[in-house]
Symmetry: D2
Subunit: 437 residues, 4 copies
């Protein structure tokens, strides 16, 4: 058993405890207040160099923010859960997430590791069949549940940080390692604001990973995701003018009718010769009273595309439709991008390094070199940033036996994956030159 | 001063007190529990023959019923306000309204008088400029306000019942007089269920009236409304099937898209050679999550027409559209009529009788023979019933200085109209042969 | 029998002959070449002061012009029918119609009389039941037929001109009389171009009339039309870009889809509180091949309104729709007004004068003072011009027994109306002060 | 040089002459009268056993037939070009195409070879840059041109038949060879009617090929097409009822509006999780006059899909849309399938045989084993028939330098391909056991 094995072995129980603590206290995107405060406290104890709040998030780039009342409710809840009030004050109203850095005195590459920290907005299964219920770590927030495994990601990040600290103390660290705890991955909302700051500026290598998904067996690993869907999530608000529908219909500017005509046109846009193209209007809400010409309409929609050409075409056409609708119905339209992802494209060199590293992890029994991802992940924006400045990036999948599909109310994973993932990260850091045994 | 004058004069203060009591306790349509109980108690004291509950409302004909939780909340509120629990039990869950009859021993016609009793679902103006606030009779129900004057209609009905009782005692009554206190006029929802029972079966004459509207000056009277708009209020619910919009769009049955296509088609229906035609989709709500094919849609709409031909045409075409949509998008559609009115068509003979009677009422300074009504009134369904069986009907307007338009949060009227209206009803009953001085 | 009677009596046969000659040689709007040449020749013989061609038609205001090949075909036909080649050359390509003036030396008002001269684009009934067939004056142009009575209007105009000339010679004329022979009334296309010149500049009184329509009984007269529908006829052309629908749908700019979305939106525009409102898309043609994204679309439509407010609202909204469509589908749209009429509003003073004059015409048995017109007439534009400069205008109906509805292939009228109309015009000119017996 | 080489060498000039003769006399699908007669005459001279007319085409399965006047015009033209009148009579009105069989006395497999014979409905380039113009074999039919190379296919078929006959005479033929000359491949209209007869019943092997397309270089060969798009071509006719749009819009049943709403809905159908999906409405024509509610609409459209699931889903949904439209707008809809193809799926064993055979053809320099076809080919229906009864089928591409894209007005190919194709067919027949040298 090598040194890295040993280091990890001593963390196994803590990894599980960390995961369960965060599982019990889930918070939705941009509302990860308790979560962020606990991460800060944990890493501060390890003497990491910490940044958070407006230092790590470009204010205007934050996408899909909650409402004011959701912000307030989240603050109250975190306060009730015992989060430090002063820290809370610095991160409330949409400034969650942490960036922690450790720097050795010796030369070596800068490697960034990213962990997403938000939960799903749903209620957890409360039957006895569900282990978190039986073993008493199920969600105490009725509006959220960690049913996508991000609780595990936080635990992996913190446990790994502890290991790296130990190696630093033992003088075995080289270069710099950056731990990025990203908010609001669900709805692909949080990465854009981090990518638009300087936190990734000097990064040579970027690694991130997900528990489960395309790899639902404990002991399996997918070394690199080589493609996924481009996507944009859009909120559209149409403002018209109300009037009495019986007496003066001509005085109204019918926002509902504008929305209806827009949606009709939107669904004609998805034929593209260069690849798969998707558009969905998931929600439409318009009007107030039966006898008034509706003055407002709200649309929640998304577009997806197999490649950059498709998504760019679709996005332009969607904007064209709403531009035209303004003239057609004399309404004003506001469009907001509330989530965004490009394609995850892991670099071959990093894939090979991860593959080589995986061979040194005893618990990994089945290594898959690469695969595509059916859905979307905003880690793509961070990877792209690193890749555009000459660095390399890789997004992996940590196999784990899954009880139910991601986002199900009774989702649960095999906690063995936690230590396996930490070990693979350590082996990879070694391969990259950040750890010198 | 004649006898009728004298009788009314002694009621002036009580009329105002009654109006203010009901103004303070407003209840929305089908929820007029306290209101109904108080009317019953008042008329029971006068020994009227009373009917209420399922005796006066055909269960399946009640339109636009509230939700279960609204029913429950209303019961609690009425109980809190002191309404008799046993009576409450008989009328709860949508059986409000009262029919009260007084019958003399002498021959004479049967005349029905109708008063609507429901309030508007809004919050009352709470500034000091608003008299109900200053004089302490403003609404204590945050969800309702008598901003259409029906509080006045109840007071007129009860005050008139007291006068008629006195005349009965003095042996001056002939034939039969029926007082109908109708629920849920707002949204034209309540009359249909009363019209579908036998309460109007032997009626020779039918009178009803409204404070204000086309007559907004105290002392003015419009003797008969000769036309108004036919209307139908429709709720449509579309049920489809959800699926993941990115992975399996073809597995969904898109209810939002069905709604959008239906609305688009609906708005093409309003051209008709025989008269004015209106259609409005006031509300549309569809879908749940951004990334799911929407499985449900709810539409609230109304149609109006200048005549029976127009409204029948429109209603048929609306049904055609939704029938077609079921096939087109493989969804199922439910349509409910939640309100309905035909045209108010007062009989000329009754208009003339009201006109003659008005001349005997000192407070009436300006008599207008007839006018049309821009909007809709479900009294039309009751009038039609009487007219179809050979009787005559008339709908009048009692002029009153108005502080703000009907349905405004600061609506208020000149209470002088209360006694004027009672007196005009009495004079009309005399002209019709129900009172013999 | 008065002098005017006598003068008309000598023209009865000629009136019928004239009508039948033009009936036999019908020509559609802007193609009335033979017709115009014959009118010129007739009036030139009477020494009228004549204007035609670009003097009486503003080039850019001519609406709904035929195609080049239709122009060419019409020239050939008129030439074949014996029309003077030099005159033909001056009026070909859309410059038909004549304005003829006669001026006395004595003071008096200026009165304009307008006669429309075009035929309908259809084939005449060729059965023996149809009198023009039996009596050998049916259309020899397979593409046109005088099935709206304009042949009669021309005959009335020319016969009247001859009568007026006789009165002039007898020194009985006062002031000035202007005869306007207007092209292209069908489709309300010709009046605009005449109204936009100076031919009506000094006109005090304006009279025009139609055989039949609301008055389908010989001997009847309607003295003035007091309302009719505003209308605009619009041709819209949408230009997009073609692409292969299977391989590269995204490269196309789909003109058919733009048209479809536009039409859908258009039909939602016809609800207006101030009066009747109509919109019809009569024709739509789009696309070339099944497997190409359609690059073009052509729309023929019309709007109508009860008043100026309605038509202005509708026209603005129609323009808004097509402006919006350009952005929505990245197409370019051209809109052309190909016909236009405002409301015919006869002045009361003139109506009274016509009414008084009608009493002097023996053949008129039934005088109706005024009526509304269900359809549209571009005489309204000429009347409006006169009225806007302070003059008065009146549009009448000459009753005539009708064999079949206007525009039917077997339309025919009772030719008695010709002399009755001439006589009524003469009596009216007398009442107005243009004739002094 | 082997025997097959020698046989082909003597045919080179004739192959070119044949191609040019058919190029000069192009005829559109189902109108290949001259073409069919000439094929019959040629093969009759070679004593082939011939079938044509209703023997080889199921009457009710013929798709996308021309109009009666097109049939008549084609008969006249073929007669003028000298086609035998008696034969003409048997094949006119949509019974073109020939099936020719040659049978040896010795055992061996039955192999069918298919050649499509129709031209494109367009005008040929008439500039001197275009070789057919310069060398005097350009189209003498102004309505058609062989711009897809089917003239070459006919020549290959006839030349090959002559070679096979020579081998038969030399006693070198085994089994049976069937030559199928298929009409109306353009628009994928002709194969269905042939597949629905018994002409393929005993076929073991089926070969067909196309000049050019994915192989635009002389000397190249693609041995087997392994996939192509499923498609259906649909003509839809909507019948409503006309009425006057101003006076009685409600009496119309608006076919144009029905079409517009249908098209709007159709374009929302193309998202499918299992593969590429296409829909195009290539033409829409509706309405007659501007002022009438349109009573008719004609739609020409197509759908395509990457697999059977997609095309079946799309076709069902398209039918649903039109079923729904009937109810929505009270119109009646007729839908006709005017063309159809499934996916071309060559069998691997035959691909290998063709590949092996190609190596023996000197003029073939570049052998590509297999490829997919972007478009659609109705040969798929014939292949499917053979494959479903246990036989094997293969569709190849004969490389040829192309002057301009297929279907261009100046399309032309390198005629060298003619002899190369014949030789490859002969080598393949040898490999299959039909030729025994």
């Amino acid at each position: 058993m090598n040194l890295l094995n040993k280091i990890v072995n001593t963390k196994k129980e803590e990894l599980i405890n960390l995961r369960r603590k965060f599982h019990k206290h889930p918070e939705r995107g941009w509302l990860e207040l308790y979560t962020t405060v606990e991460i800060i406290k944990y890493l501060d104890n390890l003497a990491y160099d910490l940044k958070y709040g407006k230092q790590i998030l470009k204010e205007s780039s934050r996408q899909g923010l909650p409402t004011d009342s959701e912000f307030k409710e989240a603050s109250k809840r975190a306060y009730k859960w015992g989060a430090d009030p002063e820290l809370l004050d610095e991160i409330k109203d949409g400034y969650t997430g942490v960036v922690a850095t450790i720097k050795s005195n010796k030369p070596g590459p800068t490697t960034a590791l990213r962990f997403d920290i938000d939960a799903i907005g749903a209620r957890e299964d409360c039957s006895d069949k569900h282990r978190p219920m039986r073993e008493n770590f199920s969600s105490i927030n009725p509006h959220a549940v960690h049913s996508c495994g991000h609780d595990g990601h936080i635990a992996i990040g913190l446990g790994l940080a502890k290991c790296v600290k130990e190696l630093f103390v033992q003088n075995k660290l080289r270069g710099k390692v950056i731990f990025i705890f990203q908010p609001a991955e669900e709805g692909v909302r949080g990465a854009r604001a981090m990518a638009d700051t300087d936190i990734l500026e000097t990064v040579d290598y970027f690694l991130s990973g997900h528990i489960g998904f395309k790899s639902d067996t404990t002991g399996q690993i997918i070394c690199g995701i080589t493609n996924s869907l481009y996507t944009k999530k859009l909120d559209i608000s149409i403002q018209g003018k109300s009037s009495h529908a019986g007496a003066a219909p001509q005085e109204g500017q019918n926002a509902l009718l504008a929305a209806v005509n827009a949606v009709s046109a939107l669904y004609s846009l998805t034929q593209h010769g260069s690849g798969m193209s998707r558009l969905n209007v998931g929600r439409l809400k318009a009007g107030t009273y039966r006898n008034l010409v509706p003055e407002n309409a709200e649309i929640e929609m998304e577009i997806r595309g197999e490649n950059d050409e498709v998504i760019s075409y679709l996005f332009k056409k969607v904007k064209d439709v709403f531009k035209g609708i303004e003239d057609m119905f004399n309404v004003s339209v506001k469009m907001e991008i509330v989530g965004e992802a490009s394609a995850v494209k892991s670099d071959q060199k990093l894939i090979d390094i991860v593959k080589g590293s995986a061979k040194n992890v005893k618990d990994i029994k089945h290594i898959i070199k690469e695969d595509r991802l059916g859905g979307s992940e905003d880690v793509s924006l961070l990877m792209e940033k690193v890749q555009n400045q000459g660095g390399q990036a890789c997004y992996l999948m940590f196999g784990s036996d899954i009880k139910a599909g991601h986002h199900s109310s009774n989702f649960d994973f095999d906690e063995k994956v936690l230590s396996t993932a930490v070990q693979l990260y350590l082996e990879s850091l070694k391969s990259l030159g950040n750890i010198n045994l």
